[in-house]
């Protein structure tokens, strides 16, 4: 039985904006499940509903077997959350933040100290525990939130954009922690991100979410297989397109901005063969498909393009008004 399950979850803001549109997913115990999509795709709305902070307009969601609508406090006991915006108390010390959390979750006093020191150790904040959180860096705050989320030993951990705003080093450290969590604590993790790299590296399965809809759900490898091969971009003005098309290993071919985009099997072995048919080549780029390509395939837009969506809309709207 899935630990997290949503059925036709729909959320409509202010009667018009559809943040979630018949969204259905099932997350199995012990997996890292990634929600990948641009800003505004409905990722945070999903987390908020699953965390009982927001009521869905329609549809059903269960966490650890409890319905979010009918058993919110059972759901809350089952989950830990690392929010997108830091929600640790910056006027308290790291230790006090954890202590407060332990009290709120009714952790027995006899166990509190041990759990706090374990959690602090895991996120390597032991030597800073007596400092006020105001003095912590962004990465340290995020780590403290993880420690806090672990304290009551939840079944499920929600990580909402856990590396947003972190520098590359902070991001690496964070990825490390997340992987350790699953290994050492045997947890189920729901991760939202708009970094395809992050989803690719961490998630066992990914749900591509766009405009509130679950567009595709699978392992990163299988999702990338959808693209059907390696991607080769060639600038060759004299190329014989039809000859290229006839090659066995070529899956698809298209023209874009004066370049030829070819999807083909095993580019490493077959590139030579391809280049024989293209005549003089100005430049060649060979790469493996990324989740960005997958996103493009399913939604017709690249992830970054989709990010710009809202901005484009605003520009368009003001243009319409003028």
């Amino acid at each position: 039985m899935p630990v997290i399950k949503t059925e036709n979850l729909t959320k409509i803001y202010k009667g018009t904006v559809k943040a979630l549109d018949n969204f259905s997913i099932g997350i199995e115990e012990g997996e890292i499940f990634g929600l990948l999509g641009p800003n505004g795709a409905g990722k945070t709305t999903t987390i908020k509903i699953l965390a009982t902070l927001l009521d869905p307009s329609s549809g059903k969601a269960t966490v650890n077997g409890f319905d979010v609508a009918t058993h919110p406090s059972k759901v809350r006991e089952s989950i830990g959350i690392v929010f997108q915006e830091p929600s640790t108390d910056e006027l308290l010390t790291g230790y006090e933040n954890l202590k407060l959390h332990a009290l709120m979750y009714g952790i027995p006093g006899s166990e509190t100290e041990k759990r706090i020191s374990d959690a602090l150790e895991l996120v390597e904040l032991v030597d800073r525990k007596k400092d006020i959180v105001k003095t912590y860096s962004g990465g340290m705050r995020r780590r403290l939130e993880i420690a806090r989320g672990l304290l009551h030993r939840p079944k499920v951990m929600f990580l909402d954009e856990p590396t947003l705003g972190l520098d590359p080093r902070g991001r690496d450290t964070m990825w490390n922690y997340v992987e350790r969590l699953v290994k050492e604590r045997d947890m189920t993790i729901l991760l939202t991100t708009h970094y395809m790299e992050e989803a690719d590296k961490l998630a066992d399965r990914i749900c591509i979410i766009d405009r509130g809809k679950a567009v595709a759900i699978d392992t990163p490898a299988k999702l990338k297989k959808v693209i059907g091969g390696d991607l080769v971009t060639i600038k060759a003005p004299l190329a014989d397109i039809d000859a290229i098309k006839r090659l066995k290993f070529v899956k698809s071919i298209e023209h874009k901005d004066g370049a030829i985009l070819i999807t083909m099997d095993d580019a490493a072995s077959n590139l030579q063969e391809l280049l024989k048919r293209t005549g003089k080549v100005k430049c060649v780029e060979v790469r493996s498909p990324t989740l960005d390509d997958v996103f493009l395939r399913y939604t017709g837009r690249g992830l970054e393009q989709a990010e710009g969506g809202l901005f484009d809309k605003i520009i368009q709207e003001s243009a319409n008004k003028a």
Binding site: D89, L91, E96, M104, Y105, G106
Partner: protein
Amino acid sequence: MRYRSNTLVGIYAVWWREFIVFLRETPRAVSAIISPIIWLVVFGAGLGGSVSIPGTDYQSFIFAGILVQTFLFSSLFYGAYLVWDKKVDLLKAILVSPLSRRAIFIGKVLGGVTISLINTIIVLVIGFFLGINLTPTAAILTFLAVAFASIGLTAMGLMVGSMMESPEGFQLLSTLVLFPMFFMSGALFPISNLSGPLATIASVNPVTYIVDILRGILTGTSYFGLMHSALALLIFTAVAMAAGMFAFERMKS
């Protein structure tokens, strides 16, 4: 049973957080000491020279008013400060815990009451140096009255904080609500000086009764009579608690 004890621990947790934060924010403590001194010494002694109140000197007269001022402002702002917690997402972490909203609300109110009582001690000590002496009974009654008043005022602040969307309304809150409530309460002058609509406003203003009770306890002269004012205070506290809890439980997160 397990759940019930957790609720109590949870209330304690919320209160504990508020208390630590209060201790840590030194500017708040400093202003709690400086502000009443300025009012009592400068205003009380300065203006008092040209004002005569039957039966007492002006400084003793406004002492209860200044005491009320310190916790009126701190309680209401403390409650309304909730909107700030909402903005910086601090509240989300608390709301997502298994604690009921009611427990969180009660913990917050107790936090506000604690701060008011600490402020009261400070003002009473200042009063002692200015020659305002208290019997032990009067001191106990003062603390009781302050506790009840500040339960109501904090709950009212939390109600406002629950309904406010952004902290920008703070200025408006103090101009439109706090200052009128303070000035129309008889804190600085006898309300018998007021007439017409102003007198009506004063008579429905809960702060009027809070000032009256404390003045009754501290100087022995109460305008409405202690029992009458105490009843008005109890009604206010009950209504504010109910309304505050209602708003807090329905607050969007």
